[in-house]
């Protein structure tokens, strides 16, 4: 069992959990992920490592409730434990000194980008981070991010804080501010946001790495559920990624593949609400 030692509610529906998992914490690197299972009947759910502490042997994850399993995990608190917690999986982010870099985070994507931004800063980069959310209340980890970045720009759809608009609008501002002199970009968030960032930076020729979140089962390259098309080649995101050169990713395919179990996901969520006997099972 992997006990939860800390729970913090970041905003409505998004929870931060710190989990005792010394073997994972000993090896975790920015960009990698874990797969968790809350109980014996649970799904194997992939979550990016949002932070790690080698001394205390803990891993931080941030999870948004989007469906049955994530909702279930978000009811767990201090004193509860995960039945399974495996990692670190996937390849680590390529951290080197690039110069001036921009990290673009959308929604819960701020969590996985945090350790990347920190590592990039420690590697001597000038790190500018853009965090996007629908509104002020849904913004997460902006204060933590400010501590590890040279500059943090916030974009909200309704303009309740920071720039009004999408992360691409904020990115446009940054690129203009530095006269296009940006050496590398990371973008993590919903697929549609990553796609928008990639389309925005493609004509500018700025290398843009994205972290893909396809459906996964084992996370070790055994099932192929996580396959994505990158530069016309099929890759298994769990072992070849999850980070890829965004300009080569077939986002439309990746987004479509995420929808395959939609009806089943609805049934899983429905089963606890209706109490059975309704024919929806």
């Amino acid at each position: 069992m992997y006990p939860i030692v800390k729970r913090r509610d970041l905003t409505s529906g998004i929870v931060l959990l710190e989990v005792q998992a010394p073997e994972v914490a000993a090896k975790a690197q920015p960009g990698q992920f874990v797969i968790v299972r809350s109980d014996d009947k649970g799904e194997r759910i992939p979550l990016t490592i949002a932070d790690f502490n080698r001394e205390t042997g803990t891993i931080t994850i941030v999870i948004q409730d989007v469906g049955y399993s994530s909702k279930m995990i978000n009811t767990l608190g201090e004193g509860d434990a995960f039945l399974d917690f495996v990692g670190p999986l996937g390849l680590a982010t390529d951290i080197e000194k690039y110069g001036r870099v921009v990290c673009v985070a959308g929604g819960v994507g701020a969590a996985p980008i945090y350790p990347i931004a920190r590592a990039l800063q420690q590697a001597g980069n000038e790190v500018i981070t853009i965090i996007g959310s629908r509104c002020k209340d849904l913004l997460i980890l902006d204060e933590e991010m400010a501590e590890v970045c040279d500059q943090v720009v916030i974009a909200t759809n309704d303009g309740s804080v920071g720039v009004k608009g999408f992360v691409t609008d904020a990115l446009d501002g940054i690129i203009k501010q530095y006269d296009g002199k940006i050496d590398h970009i990371w973008a993590i968030g919903p697929m549609i946001m990553m796609k928008a960032v990639v389309e925005f930076t493609r004509p500018l020729g700025i290398k843009t790495v994205v972290s893909l979140n396809p459906i996964m089962v084992d996370g070790t390259g055994m099932c192929g559920a996580c396959r994505v098309s990158v530069g016309g080649e099929t890759k298994f995101a769990c072992v070849d990624g999850p980070e890829f050169d965004g300009h080569l990713v077939d986002f439309d395919l990746a987004m479509r593949r995420l929808t395959y179990f939609k009806d089943e996901e609805k049934r899983a969520s429905a089963r606890d609400n209706c109490g059975g006997g309704c024919g929806c099972h």
């Binding site: 073997e23 649970g42 999986l89 089962v217 192929g224 559920a225 395959y260 179990f261 899983a268």
Partner: protein, 463 residues
């Protein structure tokens, strides 16, 4: 055959119609009466040829004799002297090409049903409490076993019996390998596998699940930092091959590994009580004709597919699946589209499979393997109307461990090179099972695990 009037006892099975809709075991097992009759057929040969056909050298006449004396627990104990997973082997061993192919009775009539008797004795043991296993005094040596499939489990058990401290590192949340994630419940109940694994724990073997070697730790780290004196790699053939035809990333195309893992390991057939989903269309095509393909096609029927079709490029004679599995599949209603090969999977406007473009084949001249190779018939293109495709054309070695272990010689396909004693090019590191041979069988993997345990024991004595 005047000595032997009793004929080979058939295995009782669930009725094909009803079993095609449930996941309960197809073969229900011998009754005591049948077991006694079948045991009576064995001639108790002084030089039992049958044993030569068993990679783990089960004491076949001895255990059968104990059955005929109604000492079923004794028979189980006898089996366990050589075979740590008899309840598994009794069910899934390709007996017809192993022990039973060598049985002397087979020359003139049917061989003794060794596998079925093996299952009978081990099921008796499982039902009546497990028998004690002997263990040598502790040697103070530590061995790491990487991968908890049949190869790893067997190697672990033998080393534990020799008094070594053994730890299994398994990537998934349960040990068992293909026995847990691949072979369906209706052929090999997971409870049976779990019982065998629990027995292993009782021998003192530590099983560390959720440990991906190559990520959370590495072979070098285990040996250099964690004090393991030797390591055995049994990571299997877990990398699914695809056909590399257009449309393979469409929605509704699964690798057999994904399809079977969802159903077996994650129990999607009990969805939504178990939360992992599986989506199954009305018409399912399974590409390939080995045991894996049979398992996938039969699983598809049980999950509610109206039609489940095996699509295979050669003819029936060349199908690599076990005869019994093929028969079971056919009885349950699996269809066969032979001498057919897909060239493209076609999707609808949402990217979901709606058909498969195929070519018809005819058999040409025999190839190097002696099998007549299929040749495409020009202009024979047609569309097979299906909405789910399961690719079951084989698996290769997963590179996570091999790539993270410097000094380990690999062959061209990425399999670990090991000699007859399962010794690799890296000192103290041994390997066996599918990771060495490529996808093979449970019993060959177990045989390799056993051989490796002997070699490791000998190696530890020199240290």
């Amino acid at each position: 055959m005047s000595l032997n009037k009793v004929s080979r006892q058939a295995m009782p099975c669930q009725d094909p119609k009803s079993r095609a809709t449930n996941f309960t075991e197809v073969a229900t097992g011998y009754s005591e009466e049948q077991a006694l009759l079948e045991a009576s057929r064995c001639l108790q040969c002084k030089k039992p040829l049958c044993r030569q056909g068993c990679p783990v050298e089960v004491l076949i006449p001895d255990f059968i004799k104990l059955i005929s004396e109604k000492d079923y627990m004794g028979a189980a104990r006898k089996l366990k002297e050589k075979n740590n997973l008899p309840a598994v082997c009794g069910r899934v061993c390709p007996q017809e090409s192993q022990c039973e192919s060598k049985c002397i009775l087979g020359i003139k009539s049917d061989p003794v049903a060794i596998g079925r008797l093996e299952r009978f004795a081990s099921d008796y043991e499982i039902a009546h409490g497990c028998c004690e296993q002997e263990k040598a005094p502790a040697t103070g040596k530590k061995v790491a076993i990487i991968g908890g499939g049949p190869a790893g489990l067997t190697c672990a058990a033998d080393l534990a019996k020799l008094g070594h401290a053994v730890t299994i590192f398994e990537a998934l949340h349960v040990a068992g390998g293909v026995l847990m994630y691949g072979i369906p419940e209706f052929r090999l109940p997971k409870g049976v596998v779990q019982t065998e694994i629990d027995n292993l724990k009782r021998l003192g073997v530590e099983v560390k699940t959720n440990m991906v070697v190559g990520k959370a730790t590495s072979v070098d780290e285990l040996m250099e930092q964690d004090g393991y004196d030797a390591a055995f790699i049994g990571t299997g053939a877990g990398l699914p091959y695809f056909m590399n035809i257009p449309g393979e990333n469409l929605l509704g195309v699964y690798s057999a590994n994904e399809f079977l893992t969802r159903s077996n390991l994650m129990k999607a057939y009990q969805f939504p009580d178990h939360v992992t989903p599986i989506r199954i269309g009305k018409r399912v095509a399974v590409l390939g004709a080995g045991n894996v393909a049979m398992d996938a096609s039969r699983t598809a029927l049980r999950l509610g597919a109206e039609e489940s079709i095996i699509v295979y490029r050669r003819s029936r004679e060349e199908m690599p699946a076990r005869h019994e599995e093929l028969e079971h599949a056919e009885e349950e209603g699996v269809k066969f589209q032979l001498l057919t090969n897909p060239i493209e999977i076609i999707g609808d406007e949402n990217g979901v499979v709606k058909g498969m473009k195929c070519l018809r084949y005819e058999l040409g001249e025999p190839d190097a393997s002696g099998r007549r190779s299929p040749v495409a018939i020009p202009g024979s293109e047609f569309i097979l109307d299906v909405d789910t495709v399961v690719v079951a054309i084989g698996q290769g070695p997963n590179p996570l461990v091999t790539k993270s272990t410097p000094g380990l010689e690999l062959n061209r396909k990425g399999n670990i090179v090991a000699d007859d004693s399962m010794t690799t090019s890296k000192p103290g590191v041994f390997a066996g099972g599918d990771i060495v041979t490529g996808a093979a069988t449970v019993i060959l993997a177990m045989g390799a695990g056993k051989t490796a345990a002997k070699s490791i024991d000998a190696y530890l004595k020199t240290k």
